[in-house]
Symmetry: C2
Amino acid sequence: MFPPIFAFCVYTEGMRASEKAYESLRHDIVQWCLAPGTVLAEVEQSARLGVSRTPVREALARLVADGLAVQQRGRGVVVSEVSLEHLDDLFDLRRALECEAARLACRSPRRAEFADLATAFTAAAHTEQIDSATEDYYQLVARLDELIDQAADNAYLATALRNLRVHLQRVRRLAKDHPARLRASANEHAQIAHAIASGNTDLARAATTMHLHQSFQHITHFATDLKGTND
Amino acid sequence: MFPPIFAFCVYTEGMRASEKAYESLRHDIVQWCLAPGTVLAEVEQSARLGVSRTPVREALARLVADGLAVQQRGRGVVVSEVSLEHLDDLFDLRRALECEAARLACRSPRRAEFADLATAFTAAAHTEQIDSATEDYYQLVARLDELIDQAADNAYLATALRNLRVHLQRVRRLAKDHPARLRASANEHAQIAHAIASGNTDLARAATTMHLHQSFQHITHFATDLKGTND
DNA sequence: TCTCCCACTTCTGTATACAAGAGTCTTGTA
DNA sequence: TACAAGACTCTTGTATACAGAAGTGGGAGA
C-alpha cells in the first residue's frame, strides 16, 4: 500500500491526504524524481500515492500555482520545464528580493546574531574537505536565509522569496558543486553576514549582489559545459 | 488571451466551473463584497455560485494560496484581514518589485511606447473633473502597469507583482479617492512613464519610489482618518 | 499507399455520497 | 444557578460515479 518513493515524509499520520500528495509531488519535482515534461495524470498519481483523485487534484492545482507544473489544455498537467533561457530573469528578481531582505535585516534589532553565522561561514570556507560536507554547508546557507527572513520581518517579502527559491532549487540541480565554488560561496556568505551584522545597508546590498552574480556565473558556466558534454 | 485585470467575468460560457468560482470569489473579496472575516463555507458558496462543492474547494484552495483567505482549523476558510499594520511591509516589497520592473523596462526596445502614456497621464492630471472619471483613470494606471510588465519581460517578476497587486487593491479600498490625490498621482505616473521612455534608469527608479511614497502616505493618512471618524 | 473519417478509449471536470471531526446545544446533577 | 458531559448537527475531507471532451487507432476509400 505504501508508495515506492516516499522515504522523506515520515509523518503521514496526522496529515491530510491532499497535503501528503502535495508534499510528495513537490519533493519529487524539486528533486528531479519527476523530470520536466512528465505528465502528471490524475489516476496514475492517485494510484502511486495511494489516495483518491480528489486530493491529487488539489495538490496538482497547488503545484500549478507554484509554477512547478503547467496545465496543458486537454492533456492535464505536466511538470514545468527548467530552462536556462530565463535564468537571468530568475536572478534579476532574486537580486531585487534578497537585496531588499538584506536591507531590512540591517535595520533589525537581531542583526547582531549574524556575527556568529559570519564566523561559521568563514570556518566553512577554510574546511579542508568542504566537498564532503556539502549537506552541512547547504544547511548553513538555509540558516542564513532563514535568519535574514526573520530579521527582515516582512511576510510579503518572505512569501515572494519562498515562491522564488523553489525554482532556484530546481535550477541548482543543473550545476554540480565544485569545491572551489563552495569555498568562494562560503566567503561570499560570510561577507553578507558580516555586512548585516555591522548594519551597513549599502555593504549588505553590495555583498548580496556580488554573491548572486557569482552564483549566476557559476550556474551559467556549468550548464553550458553540461550541454556541450553530457547532454 | 486573458484580460489583464478581471473587470468581471461575463464570459462564464467556455469557463470551467472551478475557474468561474475562483474569479467570482476573488472579485468579491477584492471588491469588498465579501468582507474580511467572512466565513467561506463550501456548501453556502456552492449554492451561491450555482456549482457543486468540488470546484468551490479548488477555488478556495487557490484563494488561500493567494493570501486572500486563510484556512482556520476546523472552521473552514475565512476571508483574510486587511490590516494597515503591515502596510509598510506591503509597500517595501512593492517598491523593490516596481523599481526593478521600471529598471528593466528602461532597457526594453519598447520603451518608446511609454511616451504616449506619459502624455495621457499629463492630460488626465489636467482634466477638469477628474473625480468623475475615476474609472477611466484607473484603467490608464492598469495600462501603464501592464506595459511595464510587458516591457520588463520577466515572468517571475510579473508573477510576484501580480500576487502583490491583489493585496494592494484591497488596501486601496480603505482610502477614498480625493481629486487632489488623483491629480498628483497622475502627475507622478506621468513622471514614471517619461523616465522609462527616456531610458533613464535612475530617474525611473526615483520616480517610482516617489510615487509609492506619496501613495503610502495618502493611504496611511486617510486610513487614520477613517479609523478616527467612521470606524 | 496515403489520407480522411468514425468509433473507441482514456482522460479530465463535476457532482454526490459517505465518514470523521469539531462545535454547539441541551440536559442532568451538584 | 452554574458547570459538565453527552449527543446532535454541521462542516470538512475523501472516495467514487458519471458525463463530456480530446486523442488515437483502425478501416475504408481514393
